[in-house]
């Protein structure tokens, strides 16, 4: 009798649960990646971050010199600092901190056209680390293994925009034990450390929100892309830029009416993306691009053409279910690949993209919203806790080589 009652209760509960689950909007689907259903997790209470007080020459003065840093695609480093200063995960007591953050804006030395020059960044970071290791004991305790740095530049902490040179330099020796929060991600690449957190590049949220069109506007463009195919200034013959993939897209599909691709700079770029089903996100000089963020926000299925790329928050977001991955050697068959995707799969991908948490996870809104990219970074850091015993060094033990690296990096900044 008792068992019957319990069974009935369980059944009733299950029924009620399934009803509430079914009430879930049929337009969207829940997103759960390899780390589980973690996109909506709240990091507050799971970790404590201590923000070092660096002199303003490392952050504020740089920003004052060039305020363009607030709107370019590397602005995540600045907004992360601002977010952490006022976040509940911040602690003023470094003894109880799990993670230590160094607010240094290494990607803010811009050319007149707005591209960041990474040549002084290694010296800047080195001098900052020298400062924190001498003023606080926490760096030497772990040689940076419980510190994290935001390095959103092209190849992360390799601090160079040319891939060959970046590979030659490798990750800055002093940062090899720290957790790097970077936009660059490619498997088996020198510039991606084990345990790094990949983030999306910064896209201005106000501009994006302002350009939404009514959702009932029918999606009439099949494949959309706007951007360079040949970088005529640096690689006129083609073959270096994008490993030849963008040029292949152009040469194979310039005559194809299903592919709306060109090098134009239309003012209706965001609106057009909302009218397209597939948005190409091929690699450029680096595999990552703000196009991924734009495609996700506008509900256009991203077609990622970059071999071995590691996409943002790869453990929280199941990118294979959301986007389409095409190997660079399969680019000539891109039209066959895209048209052979069954419509149900396409509709499912669109439903996943329509999940508001998915869109929010790609953006850096100010003020911060729950589930946005800042929170995903903190969630990623929280998932790495608790630190293993190997993180803490025995007294007198030294692992990092402070004199490693090219001679030019050793000069003071």
């Amino acid at each position: 009798m008792r068992i019957c009652l319990w069974g009935l209760l369980v059944v009733a509960l299950g029924f009620a649960w399934s009803i509430t689950a079914a009430e879930h909007n049929p337009r969207t689907e829940r997103i759960s990646g390899s780390a589980g259903d973690v996109l909506e997790d709240d990091p507050v209470g799971k970790l404590k971050v201590y923000v070092y007080e660096l002199p303003s020459k490392y952050n504020k003065k740089i920003l004052q010199k060039d305020p363009r840093c607030l709107s370019h695609m590397f602005a995540a480093e600045i907004y992360m600092h601002r977010f952490l200063l006022s976040s509940p995960v911040r602690t003023l007591n470094p003894q109880e901190a799990d993670w230590f953050y160094t607010p240094i804006y290494a990607t803010c030395d811009l050319t007149p056209t707005g591209l960041p020059l990474p040549f002084k960044s290694p010296r800047m970071v080195r001098s900052a680390i020298q400062l924190i290791s001498s003023s606080w004991p926490y760096w030497n305790r772990t040689e940076g293994a419980d510190h994290f740095f935001v390095v959103p530049h092209d190849f992360g902490a390799c601090f160079h925009y040319q891939e060959e040179k970046a590979i030659e330099r490798g990750i800055l020796p002093l940062l090899r034990r720290a957790t790097l929060v970077q936009t660059f991600g490619q498997r088996n690449h020198v510039c991606l450390n084990e345990g790094s957190i990949t983030i999306p590049p910064y896209a201005p949220p106000q501009k994006i929100q302002a350009r939404h069109i009514p959702p009932e506007t029918p999606r009439s463009i099949s494949v959309y892309f706007r951007g360079l195919f040949y970088d005529v200034n640096n690689d006129p013959e083609g073959g270096y830029y994008a490993r030849g993939a963008r040029a292949a897209v152009w040469e194979n599909f310039k005559n194809n009416p299903l592919f709306d691709i060109s090098t134009d700079h239309p003012t209706t770029y965001y609106e057009d993306m909302q009218r397209a089903i597939f948005c190409l996100c091929p690699l450029g000089w680096a595999p990552w691009s703000p196009r991924l963020v734009e495609a996700v926000v506008f509900g256009c299925i991203p077609v990622i053409i970059a071999d071995d790329i590691v996409l943002p928050f790869a453990d929280a977001i199941p990118w294979e279910e959301i986007g389409v991955f095409v190997a660079e050697e399969d680019v000539p068959k891109l039209d066959t690949i895209l048209t052979s995707i069954p419509p149900e799969v396409i509709l499912r991908k669109q439903r996943l993209l329509a999940n508001p948490y998915m869109k929010r996870a790609m953006l850096f809104p100010q003020p911060a919203l729950p589930g946005d990219a800042f929170h995903q970074i903190l969630n990623g850091l929280a998932r790495k806790l608790p630190h293993s015993k190997s993180v803490y060094l025995k007294p007198g033990e030294k692992i990092l080589n402070w004199t490693a690296g090219p001679v030019g990096d050793l000069k003071p900044w």
Binding site: G239, L258, T339
Partner: protein, 503 residues
């Protein structure tokens, strides 16, 4: 840079081979030099000489043609010495069979020995042999587009869409095919159920029937015994009568849906059909009036060009609180005295005060004895005289619902363009039997046409000079009619051309 390294290694080997065998032994990796290795060395040397002479890296080209067979494996041995190159040459043999890879050049090796498959450096641009769309794939893509748009409509579009009942008065004339096809194609794309009531002045004709049969829509083709008059006033009156007749059909058949009036020369946007689904009982939309005038007064022209030329709109006007406040109608004053009276006049054709096409109504308004029919609708059977606009069907004009964000969106455009009343056109626009007269004319109506070629090489297609046409027509009709072979026709006409020209 790489070439010079090869050169150096080659030269050193060459010189070594001519000198004593001691240094040769130390230089080569293997114990002794096999004839094959020597052969490859000499071959490589010859290739280097070739490229010196030709001025480009000929040997590289050969290497790449040989290496491009292994397109899956991108890892390549580093370029060090000629001996190693010779070894690698041994490994790969034969020319590539891979037709896909074009323009492939050698990827440079990675400096760090990681397990990465992806290599930094120059890559080939892969172009497939026929870079054009495949029609089967294009069809599949269109099916995908349709499915996605259907899903969008299901999610964001109108819930429970109602049938649209379209009323179109028409009659057989030169431009009927032009106008009616436009309306027909618009209606064929509408995603909702449709019933098309086509009323024809002058009775049901095969022309119209064949035209609307191509649509595949659910049509009701009704004939009206009166012929369409020539003057615009009379024509508008007859059209109003035909539309009322259509409303009577709706009432008789108890058709359920939204009634809209699509005149055959109007242009409709697809948003119109989405917007009218929102009507409750009686709605109005804004029409753009494209009344272009052929002869405009110069003074008024200049004035208009200074300001921004605006398209006149007919439709509901709203006040600040989005309630219906009045009506925008067409300003006829600038056109006073210059309007077309008859269809033949080459003057502006003006719309009425309020066109029928700007109004939509719920078909239940027309049903006899409807349960929740509002009181302000007049009974159609009681209507006697002329109804200028649908506002004549209701007693209280303030109940009209303005659609299209309160009349701010122009959803359809009005235009009346007609050919002369006596203009002739081939029935169903099919020329049967096909024209077998292909004489070019000496005098073309186009002043900048190229000069005619000499008589022997006259082009096939030409303009028919009426005089010539008559003479040749008689000639060809005299000779055998249709059972004739083509070339005989041609020779006949050639003969007749010469005769005609000599005339």
């Amino acid at each position: 840079m790489k070439l010079s390294a090869l050169h150096q290694s080659y030269l050193s080997r060459r010189s070594n081979s001519f000198k004593s065998s001691g240094p040769l032994d130390s230089a080569s990796d293997a114990g002794y030099k096999s004839p094959a290795a020597v052969f490859w060395l000499i071959l490589h040397g010859l290739c280097c000489l070739f490229s010196l002479v030709l001025g480009f890296r000929f040997s590289r080209l050969v290497f790449f043609l040989l290496f491009s067979t292994s397109s899956s494996n991108l890892y390549t041995p580093p370029f060090r010495s000629a001996a190693e190159l010779a070894k690698t040459l041994d490994v790969h043999s034969g020319l590539p069979t891979n037709p896909v890879v074009n323009n492939l050049r050698f990827p440079m090796p990675n400096n760090t020995a990681t397990n990465s498959r992806v290599i930094v450096g120059r890559h080939g641009i892969r172009i497939r042999p026929w870079p054009h769309p495949d029609p089967v794939e294009v069809m599949k893509a269109h099916q995908i587009l349709e499915r996605v748009q259907k899903e969008q409509r299901l999610q964001f579009g109108v819930k429970d869409p109602r049938t649209i009942i379209v009323v179109t008065p028409t009659y057989v004339r030169t431009f009927q095919a032009l106008h009616l096809t436009g309306v027909m194609h618009s209606l064929m794309v509408v995603p909702y159920d449709l019933i098309w009531i086509v009323l024809e002045a002058g009775g049901v004709s095969k022309e119209t029937a064949s035209l609307i049969a191509k649509s595949g829509l659910n049509t009701i083709h009704v004939g009206f015994n009166q012929r369409m008059p020539n003057s615009w006033d009379e024509r508008h009156k007859l059209e109003s009568k035909m539309r009322l007749h259509a409303l009577r059909i709706v009432r008789e058949k108890k058709l359920d849906g939204i009634v809209m009036f699509a005149d055959d020369s109007n242009m409709h946007s697809m948003e119109l059909f989405d917007e009218i689904q929102n009507v409750k009982w009686f709605g109005a939309v804004s029409i753009g009036i494209l009344a272009t005038s052929v002869n405009i007064d110069e003074s008024s022209d200049r004035k208009e060009e200074e300001e921004n030329p605006r398209m006149p709109i007919q439709g509901p006007a709203c006040n600040a609180s989005n309630m219906l406040a009045g009506w925008h109608t067409f300003n006829t004053i600038p056109f006073a005295g210059k309007t077309a009276v008859n269809i033949d006049d080459r003057l502006t054709v003006l719309p009425r005060k309020l066109e029928w096409s700007g109004f939509v109504l719920n078909s239940r308004l027309l049903w006899k004895g409807g349960e929740d029919k509002p009181e302000w609708i007049k009974d159609i059977d009681m209507l006697d005289g002329d109804v200028e606009s649908p506002l004549g069907l209701i007693t209280d004009p303030s109940v009209v619902e303005p659609l299209g964000s309160c009349g701010r969106q122009v959803l359809l455009w009005w235009l009346r363009v007609e050919a002369r009343a006596d203009s002739k056109f081939p029935p169903r626009w099919i020329i049967d039997p096909p024209l077998d007269i292909t004489i070019p004319s000496k005098r073309t109506p186009w002043p900048d046409a190229p000069p005619e070629l000499p008589a022997k090489e006259k082009p096939e297609l030409g303009i028919q000079d009426p005089i010539v046409k008559h003479t040749t027509k008689t000639r060809t009709s005299r000779s055998k009619h249709r059972s004739k072979r083509k070339h005989e026709t041609r020779t006949d006409t050639q003969v007749s051309t010469r005769h005609a020209e000599q005339n």
